[in-house]
Amino acid sequence: MQEPASSKIENNSKESESLKVSALWTYTLHLADSNLILAQRNAEWCGHGPILEQDIAITNISLDLIGQSRNFYQYAAMLIGDGATEDSLAYLRTEREFKNCLLAEHPNGDWAQTVLRQFLISAYQFLLYEKLQHSTNEQLAAIAAKALKEVTYHQRWSSEWVIRLGDGTEESHQRMLKAIDELWRYTGEMFMPADYEVAAGFDVALLKDDWMKKVSSVFEEATLPVPEKVFMQTGGKTGTHTEHLGYILTELQYLQRTYPNAEW
C-alpha cells in the first residue's frame, strides 16, 4: 500500500494542496458510502431473516457498517467544512454524488446472494483496513483499526455461510451458483482505483491478489467454481450507479427530505 505521496509532490502550491484534500475527502466519502449502502441493504432483512439467529446476525452486521460509515462521514464532514455534517452527507446528497461500489447497492436476492455479497465485500474490507490502519493519516488509521475487528467477524460469519450453502444440499448449491453468476461482475470494481484513490495515495489494486487467494480457498471448500474472464462493471466509485441506488436513497432519505431537520 502506498503511503500518501506528499514527498513526491514537488510543487507545494495551495492548488495542489487543496487538490490533495479534495481527493482525501472524496476517498473518505467513498468508504463511508459503501458502508452505508451495504448497511441499508442488509437492514432490509430486519424481521425477514430465514431464522431468528440469522435475522440478528445480519442486522448486527448492518449496525457495524453504519457505525463505520458514521466515522468516515464525520471525518469527511470535517475535511469538507462549509457546514457539512455526517447527516447532510448521508441524507442530502443525490445518486450521482454517492461513491459506493456497485456491489453494495445490488439487491439482496435470496440468503445465498446476501451472504455471498457480504463475503466478497468483507474479504476486501478486511485487507483494506488491515493496510489502512498503518496509514500516516491518523484519522483513517484509527477508524480502520476499530473497523478491522468488526470486519474480521463479518468475513468469518459470511465465509462460513458460503461454505455451508455451497457444500450443502443440491438446492443450496444451485442458489450459490446463481448468486456467483449474479454478483461476480461487480467484484472487479473494488480493485480498480478511481482517480481520487490514486491522488489520495491508496492503491487498492495491490489488494487484489490476496483477495483472490482468500476467495479461491473459501470457494474450494464450498465446492464452488471461481469464474474466469468476466467483464467487470464499474462506475459506482465515480457516481455512475445502477438504477437500484435511486430506490435505496428514496427510502433512506425520505424522512429527512420530507421533514427537513426533523429530530426526535
Binding site: 431464522i51 431468528l52 439467529e53 440469522q54 440478528i56 446476525a57 448486527n60 467477524y153 468469518r156 460469519w157 462460513e160 461454505i163 455451508r164 457444500d167
Partner: protein
Amino acid sequence: MKDSKVSPPTGGGEGGLGFPLWEVFVRSKQGLDHKHVGSLHATDAAMAIENARDVYTRRQEGVSIWVVESKFITASNPDEAGELYEPAIDKVYRHPTFYELPDEVGHM
C-alpha cells in the same frame, strides 16, 4: 480462523433438516463460571458459537461461550425432587462449619 471443521449434524433436529437445538452458556468478564443464558438453533458447533456470539453477547454479556447440543444434556425429573433433595435437609454435619481453625493457619 475457524474453530472446527464443518462436521455433519448429529442427526435429527427440526424435522431431520439438521438444524438442532443448542444450549448456550456464557461467562461474564468478572465471572468464574459459565451460566446458562438460553438456546438457539444451528447446524453445527462452529455456527452455534457464532450464533451465540450474535444473540447472547451483543450487550457485553460475556467473554466466553460454551455451546452443547441440547440432546446431550440430561436433566433430573422434577417429580423425583422429593427423593433426590429432601433427605439432605436435616443433615447439618455435612456442612464444613464445625471445625475450628487454629489461629496459626490464618485466613482460609
